[in-house]
Symmetry: C2
Subunit: 426 residues, 2 copies
């Protein structure tokens, strides 16, 4: 049953403990949308432009090509000179010069003459057609034309590819490899693009050792920091972390005031005594959303601290991943000028077993793919990150649904559709 | 009509000029498949591992967590002590200690006692259940238990997430963000991954100015170099180019002998006098494939020079893109340990206009998407790179097809499914 009210009363569901109200996912998205504007422009060199988002539309300053060029290897001719030529009635033309790519002929062409020309070479003045090499017999200083050629034939006109003054690519375009090629051919050494968001990762938890350490005693090793860094990179942000932050209000507040566009706080996001970040955000900035009707990730929040957007992500790693994907990733993409939609490939599949949810919350259910079917993973807690490495993707069960029976058709987001790429080297 | 013969006689199609035989695309793929082995392993730091391909399977050296932990905030108890407790018959337990994440209790628990515990904290010795805080009344030094709790309840056992000695991730896995998290939590500071292929881009053509220049006179600016660099990065290679290579056999041979796993030569790939690269490859190495039954890109080739795989890509930029995507990109992905399939999102769409091809060649047709329909772009030559920026994707028309009528259902590869990402920063 749909819930018209944007919040849902807290239930005895222990995961929801402590939150008087839980905001609907859609309401959190609405607040977020009101906060998201692309960052200002910056200039990047052409060789760094791939994948960046144009902040302005690009108009070509030049014609490409800047001159008429041959589309075939052959002979530049005056088309009228070839009228009536056949294999039985070959017509002679005197070869007076050659035009190569980058090395045009030294002279113009007049009636009765031909200039040898290669594909891509400038068509000499006076010529109005290119006769393919297959249609002539080559003699020492002349050719015998065996076929008539029409005016303009096998000539690529000036501006055939790109016309000066025409719009090449619109603002908001995420540049593809071929876009970079076109921008290079039109003489762009630098490009105006949306600045990439700087994202500070604040990992808290006195039980945590930094990534790279071995777990020891009652200390566990930070999984969220490295995972978030990879997610941020995927979404076009510049992530940085500064070790594990001490679990004190002072240390967390200082970290949340770092030089960044977006702050991600991992851990201490709920309403317990030791959950400092929500309190700090309420006191020093704005805690706009806290407690969301979803599973996992219900103890997530978001707000602002000065110019920074702040996301409070639960410390449990599955919750952290889920809250990142629902909210923080979307913000990083939007600030960088990208689309906010899910960065996963979506497929339609059939459920092999039923998938249970509860009305009143959105569920993020990990599934495994086998052919056209997907199987829900055995229910595992938000603390079991390895459930997301065994899964091939996830199904989102909307708030007004109790889940789906076996055999139902569902939309699945696949985790694996994120090719890894790096800035091209020059 | 299918062609049983792997080669097709040259036709009068002028694009095929000069090639005595054209190899079928599938035959070129077969040769290529015989040459592709993942590169040797190298070690990378955890924070550089995202998107890399594991060269060995990873077994966990530890249990995660390494101890039983509380899944709720509450009290660690002996379950038997709570038997019979109700709101009307609360049972008292003495609170003797506290267990926090990373800060375990100092003492073991005995009958009649409770230890305050937070989610994620180690369960003290002697305790066999966690009683949620909602089910007790808290007094000064004791709690009143209002509900019985079963043995093992709200305790996450040691190894709940990951069991020591179990396989975490298989060889060949391209690491996802959550994989990096799991590898961090199991204490992996470094990982064995497939080395990324080094790819030298050799751009030839006396008419070319380097990327970043303005076109001038009869000089045009290199589009293929920057485009190839972006494609290589997308496919996980390390691309590098050293300016424009002089169009002489000496210069091209030297460039083809650069320190790289793969050489991409752009330009001079056909059979003309000025096409040096195929001749050089035949003389100094192996020219395995030259001339392919496809459009564009028929004057493409591939072979080996020493340990290097060499791809001869036509200079026309659309042909260059097409030959890269059909052959070179696939090789780069395979050497880096990735899947060789197309790196594009594939959709099913309806043709709004007919799409004409010819039996005997594979066609790479650029299309524009509008809703569920795709429209073939007006036919434009292989020299018009902007056709690939106006297109949303492409349709591959198989060799045995004459094309498709309007209204036909076709598979479309979308150009835009290549999120840009960069190596995460630490």
């Amino acid at each position: 049953m749909p819930q018209p009210d944007p919040t849902v009363p807290a239930t005895s569901d222990v995961r929801m403990k402590g939150f008087a109200r839980r905001v609907r996912v859609e309401q959190a998205w609405d607040w977020l949308a009101s906060q998201l504007r692309p960052l200002p422009t910056e200039t990047v060199a052409l060789h760094e432009a791939w994948g960046r988002v144009l902040s302005e539309s690009i108009v070509s300053a030049v014609d490409v090509p800047g001159f008429p060029r041959a589309m075939m290897d052959g002979y530049a001719v005056v088309a009228a000179d070839t009228e009536g030529a056949t294999a039985y009635n070959p017509l002679p033309l005197q070869v007076v010069d050659v035009s190569l790519p980058g090395a045009p002929a030294h002279q113009a062409l007049t009636a009765g003459q031909a200039i040898r020309i290669m594909t891509g070479a400038p068509v000499p003045q006076g010529a109005d057609a290119v006769l393919p090499v297959e249609r002539v017999t080559v003699e020492t200083e002349q050719i015998l034309v065996q076929d008539a050629v029409a005016r303009g034939k096998h000539i690529g006109p000036q501006g055939e590819d790109i016309v000066q003054g025409h719009a090449l690519l619109p603002a908001g375009r995420q540049l593809r490899p071929q876009d970079v090629g076109v921008l290079s051919s039109t003489g762009n050494a630098e490009l105006p693009v949306v600045r990439r968001p700087r994202v500070r990762v604040v990992v808290t938890g006195n039980e945590l050792l930094p990534a790279g350490a071995m777990p020891a005693g009652y200390q566990i090793v930070d999984a969220n920091g490295p995972m978030l860094q990879a997610l941020i990179a995927r979404d076009g942000g510049i992530g940085f972390q500064r070790g594990i932050v001490e679990d004190t209000p002072q240390a967390i507040l200082a970290a949340m005031q770092d030089d960044a566009d977006i702050i991600l706080v991992s851990g201490g996001s709920s309403v317990g005594e030791e959950d400092h970040a929500p309190t700090l955000l309420r006191e020093h900035g704005e805690l706009a959303i806290h407690g969301i009707a979803m599973r996992p990730s219900s103890p997530a929040g978001m707000g602002r601290l000065g110019d920074r957007l702040v996301f409070l992500l639960p410390g449990n790693p599955v919750s952290c991943l889920c809250a990142y994907d629902f909210f923080a990733g979307r913000a990083i993409r939007a600030l960088g000028g990208r689309a906010t939609n899910w960065p996963y490939r979506e497929i339609t599949a059939t459920l092999s077993r039923k998938l249970v949810s509860a009305v009143g919350r959105v569920d993020y259910a990990r599934v495994r793919q086998t052919g056209d079917q997907v199987e829900p993973l055995a229910i595992s807690g938000a603390s079991v990150l390895s459930s997301t490495t065994r899964a091939d993707g996830f199904v989102i069960i909307p708030q007004d649904s109790e889940g789906y029976p076996a055999g139902a058709t569902v939309q699945v987001m696949l985790y694996d559709e994120t090719p890894h790429t790096t800035t091209p080297t020059a």
